[in-house]
Structures are given as C-alpha cells and as structure tokens.
C-alpha cells in the first residue's frame, strides 16, 4: 500500500512510461515463455523423430549381425551410421547382445567389446523416446532389438543436444533484446506522448496558480494549440472565465464605489443637517448679539450658545475625519472610535426618529490591540443597515464588550429579518454568489474587514423580532502578547 501511494506520488509523465515499460516486460515475459515452451516442444519432437529414424535405420542394419553376434558387422554398421546422421549428432552408440554384454560401441576405446554395461548406463532412460539430461547437455535413447518375437539385444544411443539449448538460449537472448528495446521505445514514446498531452495542462496549471496568487491572466493566443480542439476549447473556456471574472470584479468594484458614495452621501447629508441645525441657532445668537450685545446676560448666553454650537460642529467634523482618513485607520482601537460611530449615526437616527440602545463594556484598557479604523467602518455600515431596515420610531442597538483576547460587537435591528442570500455574504465560506449578483455590497465590505482582521460574523434572530449581527474580532497576536505581558 505504501509502495502504491509512493508510486501515485510520482508525476504522471514518469508514471505512464514506467507503467508502459512494466506492461511490456509482463507481456514479453508471457510471450517469451510461450515461444520457448513451444520451441522446446518442437525441438523435442524433432529430436524424437530423428532418434526414431536413427534407431530404425540402425536396427535394420544390425539385427542380422546381432543374431550372429558378429562384432565386426555391428561395429561397421555403427561406424557408417555416425556419418549418415550428422544432424542428430550422435556421441556414442552401443549395441548389446541378448546377454547384455557389449557387442560393439561406436568408440571401442571407451566401451570395450564384450564388456558389461554399467547399471547407470542401462537405467538412464525415461518414458520418452529421448531422455534429455540438461546438466550434461546430452540425450539418451534406446531400442530393444527383437527378432521373431525374441529379444536379441539393445541399441543404446547418446546424442549431443547442446545445439538445442544453444538455440533456446539464442532465442531467449533475441527475445530479451527485442522486448527490452521495444519496452524502452514504448516507455520513451509514452513519456514524450504524456509530456505532450500534459503540456497544455501545465500551462493551465501555471495560469491558475498565478490566478490564485492574485492576477488571473488569460492564456495568450500563441499558447493555444491550433490543431488540438480539446485543449484549445479548454484554454478558450479558461480565458472566457478569466474575462468574466474580471468583468464581475470591475462591476463589483464599481458597485462598491457607488455604495461607498451613497453611504458617504447619506453621511454627508446627515453631517450637513448636523451642522445646519446649530447653524440656525448660531445665526440667531449672532443676531441677538448684534441687537442686544450690550446686555451682559444676553451676550454671555449668546456666546455660550455659539460656543456649544461650534463645538458640536467640530465634533462631527472630527468624527468624519477619523473615519475616512486612512492614516488614522491603523491606530489601535479605543472607546472613542465607537463614540465617533455613534456621533456619525446620530443624524440618520434623528431623521428616522429612532432610538439607539448603546452598551459598551470595555475591559478598562484604554486601547484594544485591534486596528480601529476598519472596525469603525464595519460597525458604521452595520448600524446604517440596521437603521435602514428598522421602521421609524424603532430601536437600533449596539452592545460591545471585550472578552479575554477578543472583541464582541452585536448590532441589533427591528427589521423583518435578513434574507438568506444576503446573510450568506457575512457568514458563508464563499460570499461570492450574492456579491456577484451585485447585492449587499455594504455587508461585503463588512465581510472583507472581518476576514482581514481574522474574525468572524454570525447572524441570529432576536427575541421579539429583528436581527442581531455579531462580529467576533480577535486581538492582533503580537499585540496580544504585548497586552498579556
């Protein structure tokens, strides 16, 4: 199993050639086995045929001589037959008489006439015509000589069968070389083919990898193969995807910009209203000063009125500056950030005659190790949304508390509840579908802030109607350490 897993981890461009080569080895082993076994059978039947012919010929030649125990005639027949059966390569032939003694051997110096044959010599024959001794590369055959139904002697023949084994070896070597070369060629072919086949996949993989790291670039036309319609189709499909994604991103960015401008507009009009409200009082105070400035009581009251009015205007302007100046967004979060949000929200609440339940349970620290700017943005967006869905005279709520190493902020409304696809922008793993549909861009910005800060959002229905959105934002790790220390 481990081997299999390791094999699977090898790139496919090496795995396929290796598999092809292995397959070739298996096939060639099977073919070689069949060929050699067939060859061996053919050789044996050929050898048996030759041996039968040899023994037949020799029998008819020596029977009369064996009957007369004519040593010379038997030897003469053996001597002449050795020249006539060269293809059989007889090594030695011995003719024994009815008493088992040697009448003549083809090499009398080795086996003398009238001697007894050894038991090994007599018992070396198997059931086949020719018994092959592979170790000594020799074949043995014997034929009983029968005349008028009586055994009169035996021919014992020994053949050289080394040429059969040499032929088998030669064929085996030829098979090995041929199959080895074929396996190598097929493996090489497989390698080249697979490389060619997965080449386009590599291109696609590179582009997708690049896309994952940011820039999704379409595959250039030069890289799209002209003839391979499947790969070309795939590449074109990928390019279409990249283009569509770019368009959607542009569209989303545009919408986000519009949304930003729209909230900005609302904020601006709120702010203008906030500034405009004291302005009426301020001008009245100025008129009063012009008319009754000499009266000390009136003058002091008017100046005090003007001072408070200007202070209110200053607070609103400062809150707006703190929220929308990027260099300030990196500062650690303080309670003032939430107070600014409250201030910015105020005109909108007033317009809709809504009440704000405000509960901030800080842990006593002046600053929290969280970037304040993004949190303010997110909370402001959620509160603006809550205000938008809450009917007039309704109540919008904010509860913030820090707990151990994280900050919990819950924003409540009295709306009819958040649709699932819009809620998905905040809580789904992939906020894409709703965003791509161009909806809930304010929430998408909240989601980006939450993701960016490593936090998460949850949505729950409130008892007695309405929805509560909870943001859980962890403290920055380094700051956490510092804070803990």
């Amino acid at each position: 199993m481990k081997l299999l897993r390791r094999f699977r981890s090898i790139p496919v461009s090496y795995r396929v050639p290796v598999l092809v080569a292995l397959l070739m080895v298996v096939i060639s082993a099977a073919i070689s086995e069949r060929v050699l076994s067939r060859l061996s059978r053919t050789q044996e039947s050929f050898l048996n045929g030759l041996a039968e012919t040899y023994l037949d010929g020799l029998s008819s030649a020596v029977v009369p001589a064996v009957l007369r125990a004519d040593v010379w005639e038997v030897f003469d027949a053996l001597d002449r037959s050795s020249a006539s059966y060269k293809s059989l390569a007889p090594i030695e032939t011995v003719v024994t008489g009815s008493d088992g003694r040697v009448l003549a051997a083809s090499d009398p110096n080795r086996i003398a006439t009238y001697s007894e044959l050894s038991a090994d010599y007599r018992n070396r024959y198997g059931p086949d015509v020719v018994t092959i001794d592979e170790a000594r590369l020799t074949g043995f055959a014997h034929r009983d000589l029968v005349y008028q139904g009586q055994p009169i002697g035996t021919i014992h023949a020994t053949f050289d069968v080394s040429h059969l084994f040499a032929e088998r070896r030669e064929i085996l070597v030829t098979l090995l070389i041929t199959n080895g070369v074929l396996a190598a060629l097929f493996a090489l072919g497989g390698f080249v083919l697979v490389r060619q086949m997965i080449g386009p996949m590599r291109v696609l993989e590179d582009h997708m990898r690049a896309a994952a790291h940011g820039a999704a670039e379409p595959i250039s036309h030069r890289e799209i193969p002209a003839g391979d319609s499947e790969v070309a189709g795939l590449f074109r499909g990928y390019n279409a995807l990249v283009h569509a994604e770019r368009e959607r991103a542009n569209f989303a960015m545009q919408l986000a910009e519009e949304e930003k401008l729209s909230s900005l507009g609302r904020l601006a009009s709120g702010m203008a209203h906030e500034i405009n409200n004291p302005l009426g009082g301020l001008f009245n105070a100025l008129d009063t000063l012009k008319t009754h400035g000499e009266t000390p009581g009136v003058r002091d009251t008017s100046i005090s009125l003007i001072e408070r009015g200007l202070a209110g205007i200053r607070d609103v302007v400062e809150a707006a500056l703190a929220t929308y100046r990027p260099e300030r967004s990196q500062r650690p979060m303080t309670a003032a950030d939430l107070d600014d949000v409250r201030l910015l929200l105020k005109p909108e609440l007033r317009r809709k005659r809504q009440r704000l339940d405000w509960s901030v349970a800080w842990n006593g620290a002046r600053e929290l190790p969280i970037r304040g700017g993004p949190v303010r943005q997110a909370v402001l967006n959620l509160l603006l949304n809550a205000s938008a869905v809450t009917p007039e005279d309704g109540t919008v709520s904010l509860t913030a508390m820090s707990w151990e190493d994280r900050l919990h902020i819950e924003i409540g409304d009295q709306g009819t509840g958040m649709p699932a696809d819009i809620a998905g922008i905040l809580i789904d793993q992939d906020p894409g579908p709703a965003v791509r549909a161009g909806r809930g861009l304010g929430l998408w910005m909240v989601r980006r802030v939450v993701d960016d800060l490593g936090g998460r959002a949850s949505i729950a229905a409130k008892r007695g109607g309405g929805t509560a959105v909870t943001l859980t934002i962890p403290f920055d790790r380094e700051d956490t350490k510092a804070h803990a220390a």
């Binding site: 009398p108 003398a112 006439t113």
Partner: protein
C-alpha cells in the same frame, strides 16, 4: 587372392563418380542380359575376384574388364563375393573359369587347380603377413598380444588367419586360448579399421594391403603399428580349375596377365593395384604355405 575389403561395403572416403556409376550400370546390365543375348554363342568368361581392391574398386573393375576383354576376346564377367570361401567354391566347382584366390585355398585345392599367374610386388611374387596392434601399444613381439581381442581377416586367408594360427601352433598355442576373443572382419582393410578404432587390440593382416594402405589411407594406418612380420610367402595367385585347362581363354588370360605391363590399359590396372606385374610360378612356390597348413592340422 587377398581380400582388401568388400567393394559394396567399403564406401568410406570413396567418392563415387558419375563415370563409376555408368560403368557399374553398364556392367551390371551386361551381366544380367549376357546369357540371354549371347545364348548359343560362346559362354562368357567368368573371372572371380575376392573382395579385393584398394581405393577405387569400380574404377579398377572397369579397367580390368576392359583390358581382359580386349586380350581374351568375348565377354568377360567379373564375379565378386563377400568371402574367400564363396569364390573358392565357385572356382573349384568349375562355375567360374578363373579366379584370383589366396595361397591358402590354393594349397588346399591344389589337386583340382592349375596356377595361371602370380602377382609380382616389389620385384618378387612374394608377400608377408603382419601382426598389427594400435600405434600406442607397447608389445615388442607376438607373445605380448596374449589375451587380446584379435581381428582375423578371413578363415580362408593365408596372411589374415593361417600365418597367425600356424605361428601359435608352432609355439604350442591355440588361437582360442591365446587370444581372449577373436572374430573375422572379412577384409584386410577391416582388420586395420578394427585395430585403429580400438575395437580389437590386435589383428592379422596382409602385408601387401597394409603397405599399400599406408600410401592410400595414411591417417588410418598411422593409428596402428606392426608387431611382427612373417617370412616371405607366395603372393596370392590366379588359378583356374583343371577342368578348363584346355580352354583357349585360360591361356589367353595367362598371357594377358603376364604381359600386362606392356599395355596401357594393363598398366592402369597394375598402377591401381600397386603391382609390378604377373609372373608364371610353379606350385612349389606355395610350399611354405602348405607347410603351415600341415602345422596347423597337426596341432589340431
């Protein structure tokens, strides 16, 4: 006449040419049809040959027939058989008019046979019998061959049987007990093959055949060595039965043989046989062989 090897068996190393085949076919056909064709004409002259010749038997037969036919006239039939005995029987019974036989059968049937001519070898109508053993054998004399498996040539051969048997008889030995075993190979060449191959440890062979084979088959002869040479004895003669003594053709045959070296075809025959010629000899020329027959007979 000595038995040098059966022409129908001794095929080893003898390439048969087309000419040989044609010659053989023609002679064979002639042999088959001769009595029918000639019918009432003079009967063909039958000349018997023990399985004799040296290297190219068919070629020799062709030249011999051609030579004799030209010198004797009429049709010549060459009769060959496997053993000495068969030829001797044909000759003595008068079924053939003449034959090249061995000195041993000649002395046995001296009363029924006339000598026609005796071959001359190395200037004399004499030859020897050899006792041979394998080349690496240490035996110094014939006594060292005791206990051997021994190859004889033919029971009717002087050099290939009688001489050795007489030698043993003279020394009060019997072939059956002196040699562990013995058998006949029916050919002097076969004796040399048997000894060379190791089939037998020793053999009795015609000295003439041995010497000629030393020239024609040196590789075979080299594997053997001579242990003993006999005294010089009468060369196997050409004889004819007394019953045809008046046949013109027998005298013509004698003339043809004696004057063989004067004729081109005759010289070819002599060259193939490695003989100098033929000479007329008296029956006493074979007395030494007769003495051996007597020695053997007395020893039982």
């Amino acid at each position: 006449m000595r038995n040098l090897g059966n022409p129908h068996r001794a095929t080893d190393g003898v390439p048969i040419t087309r000419r040989d085949l044609i010659t053989a076919a023609v002679s064979g056909a002639a042999t088959l049809f001769a009595p029918v064709v000639l019918g009432s004409e003079e009967e063909s002259f039958k000349f018997g040959l023990t399985p004799v010749f040296l290297s190219n038997d068919l070629e020799l037969l062709g030249h011999l027939r051609s030579y004799l036919s030209a010198r004797i006239g009429g049709r010549i039939e060459l009769v060959t058989r496997r053993t000495y005995q068969e030829i001797t029987a044909l000759l003595v019974s008068g079924q053939i008019q003449s034959a090249w036989i061995c000195g041993y059968p000649y002395v046995q049937f001296k009363a029924d046979l006339d000598l026609v001519a005796t071959p001359v070898w190395h200037g004399k109508p004499l030859y020897q019998s050899y006792l041979i053993a394998s080349a690496d054998r240490k035996a110094d004399d014939w006594a060292g061959l005791k206990g051997d498996v021994h190859a004889f040539s033919d029971p009717d051969s002087n050099s290939g049987f009688l001489v050795t048997r007489a030698l043993l008889a003279e020394n009060r030995q019997l072939a059956g007990s002196f040699f562990a075993r013995s058998f006949f190979t029916y050919g002097h060449r076969n004796v040399i093959r048997a000894v060379a191959s190791g089939l037998t440890q020793s053999g009795s062979v015609d000295g003439y055949v041995y010497e000629v084979m030393r020239e024609t088959e040196p590789d075979l002869v080299k594997q053997t060595r001579i242990v003993r040479k006999s005294e010089w004895l009468g060369f196997p003669p050409i004889a004819s039965p007394k019953s045809v003594a008046n046949d013109r053709r027998v005298r013509a045959l004698q003339q043809a043989l004696i004057s063989m070296q004067d004729d081109a075809e005759g010289r070819k025959v002599l060259a193939l046989l490695r003989l100098d010629g033929f000479a007329a000899t008296s029956p006493s020329h074979f007395d030494a062989i007769a003495a051996k027959v007597e020695t053997v007979r007395q020893s039982g």
